[in-house]
């Protein structure tokens, strides 16, 4: 290593030549597998990117910054800003609901519930993760919609002075709130099972330390268990978020897709979502050009998910920071 300041000849410690043969083979297999997944990922990106080029050439930057889907005009105009923004808005709503709910649920399962009840809950939550999203969408459409309509009316009635709870139309169906709520239901099992696992691994000697310093459960969580598990919890949230961002069909059932930007009115009918745009147009696509537009939208959804994952990694790597 060049950073070592020495005249002595350094021995080779790290090259494959000096390692055990079995390890060498194993290392190659593992490296190969890792590269394969990278290649598949790159392949998807390249395929989508190439398909997106004509769409991007015809629409320019406006494809990202405006909101429209007028394919039959000449020239056709398409822009997915409202959809991109809508996806993020839905994800934020889902996070706001799912993260606290999952953490509370995990804390209950790990630190409070009698073992038998914790076990039943664990199984129930895992079962929740297995519900196909089309079933969840149907459930939301028929079962969740009526009560959700009432909750939102109440929100509007009592908190309507807060801009996010404005509703001018009087229509409380097909709102970002309902769609975000459904996404939250999809995220909760994922986030909960990771969080439960991580909290359950809090070293007992740290819990001892906190207890012997007279901690309440709340302070123990705040200063010991949650900081200890933060990296894992963020990872779980990102897994859930990945599912939420890419979710199509469940959102398709409950969100009224509008080609317009719903900036903040979460209980107003109408919103956007890239994945839902793709699924709703795909079946009745008017020609190869619209298909290219949809693939271009898919490309940016893919990029967006990557960005979210990178942010997640950044958060996880910053969790090593020390508390004074």
């Amino acid at each position: 290593m060049s950073s070592l300041d020495t005249n002595e000849t350094l021995r080779d410690l790290h090259s494959a030549a000096t390692s055990h043969r079995g390890d060498r083979v194993f290392n190659r297999v593992i490296t190969g597998a890792a590269f394969t997944s990278l290649i598949v990922l790159a392949g998807i990106a390249i395929f989508l990117g190439l398909q997106a080029i004509p769409a991007f050439q015809s629409q320019g930057l406006a494809f990202l910054t405006t909101t429209a889907w007028d394919i039959n005009t000449d020239p056709p105009t398409a822009g997915i800003w409202g959809m991109l923004y809508g996806s993020v808005l839905l994800a934020v709503i889902a996070l706001v609901i799912a993260v606290p709910a999952s953490i509370l649920l995990s804390v209950f399962m790990v630190f409070l519930a009698p073992p038998k009840i914790a076990k039943i809950l664990t199984n129930l939550v895992d079962l929740m993760a297995a519900i196909p999203s089309v079933i969840l969408g149907l459930w939301a459409f028929y079962i969740l919609n009526p009560p959700a309509e009432e909750w939102q009316q109440l929100l509007n009635q009592y908190l309507g002075w807060i801009p996010i709870f404005e509703n001018a139309s009087g229509n409380f169906l097909g709102t970002p709130f309902i769609a975000g709520f459904v996404l939250a239901i999809m995220m909760i099992p994922i986030v909960t099972s990771v969080t439960r696992e991580v909290l359950g691994r809090t070293p007992p000697e740290l819990i001892n330390a906190a207890e012997s310093l007279g901690c309440s459960l709340w302070t123990m969580l705040r200063y010991v268990a949650l900081p200890y598990g933060r990296g894992g919890i963020v990872g779980g949230v990102m897994l859930g978020l990945g599912r939420a961002l890419g979710e199509t069909i469940a959102v398709f059932f409950v969100l009224k897709l509008v080609y317009d930007t719903n900036w903040y009115k979460v209980i107003e009918s109408g919103g956007g979502s890239v994945a839902t745009l793709i699924v709703s147009r795909f079946g009745e696509v008017t020609g190869p050009f619209e298909l290219q537009l949809l693939l271009a939208a898919g490309f940016f959804l893919f990029l967006g998910t990557l960005v979210v994952n990178m942010i997640a990694n950044l958060i996880v790597s910053r969790t090593g920071r020390l508390q004074k």
Binding site: P114, L206, G214, L322
Partner: protein
Amino acid sequence: MSTAEFESVQTLEEQMVESAAPRDLAMDARNLSVWFGKRKVLEGVNIAFPERTCTALIGPSGCGKSTFIRTLNRLHELIPGAALAGSVLYEGKDIYDADVDPVHIRLKIGMVFQKPNPFPSMTIRGNVMSGLKLSGMKRDDHDAIVESTLTSAGLWNEVKDRLDHAAGDLSGGQQQRLVIARALAVEPNVLLMDEPCSALDPASTLKIEETIRELSKNVTIIIVTHNMQQAVRVSDNTAFFLAAENEPGHVVEQGLTTEIFSNPKDQRTLDYVNGRFG
């Protein structure tokens, strides 16, 4: 043993019988029995802990020493199914009375565990202050607390230049002394130590023993140890616990450490302190 010493023991025992709350006792366990679920692990334990002394609890593994000291600061009750009978007096008042706040008890009666357990996500300074932070105590002389407790724990000189480093970078022995400093920062009157040196090397063990002897001038120390020499070196009094197979543990013999080790009354004590079992 001189007559004077013998008399002072007598006096202590008489006091325990005569007065409900002798002032010079920091803690007093009375007729304590302890259960995990249906299983009784301790029976009829009576030990008095005079203020500013060090008491060693010795005995084979599994005889209930850890369980016993965990009843002294109300940690035992945090285990599901835990039960207890008898009483534990702290400064003359039963800590299991309904009006006693367990958080207050745990702060006044600190504890150091077998495995050093500093908070790894906090700095050295952060660890020392963590007891105050976690219990919501407000103090503004932070630097003074950090310096004085680390000095008492015999660690100040080694860490004064890197207070903002991670606690996890310290050696095991240093971590254990850091944990002692952390316990001292909330100004406890009693310090419970459950085999504090059994995970440490001999040099660190000696450092901690020095610390214990120094601390016991101001704080009452109750220490569980499997190391007979350590008990002799650091403690004033010793209690010997024993549990027959499938029977709850009890105290076989207690008294001045010098007596227990040089002239025990019970054959089992003699055998144990001479390393013949356990």
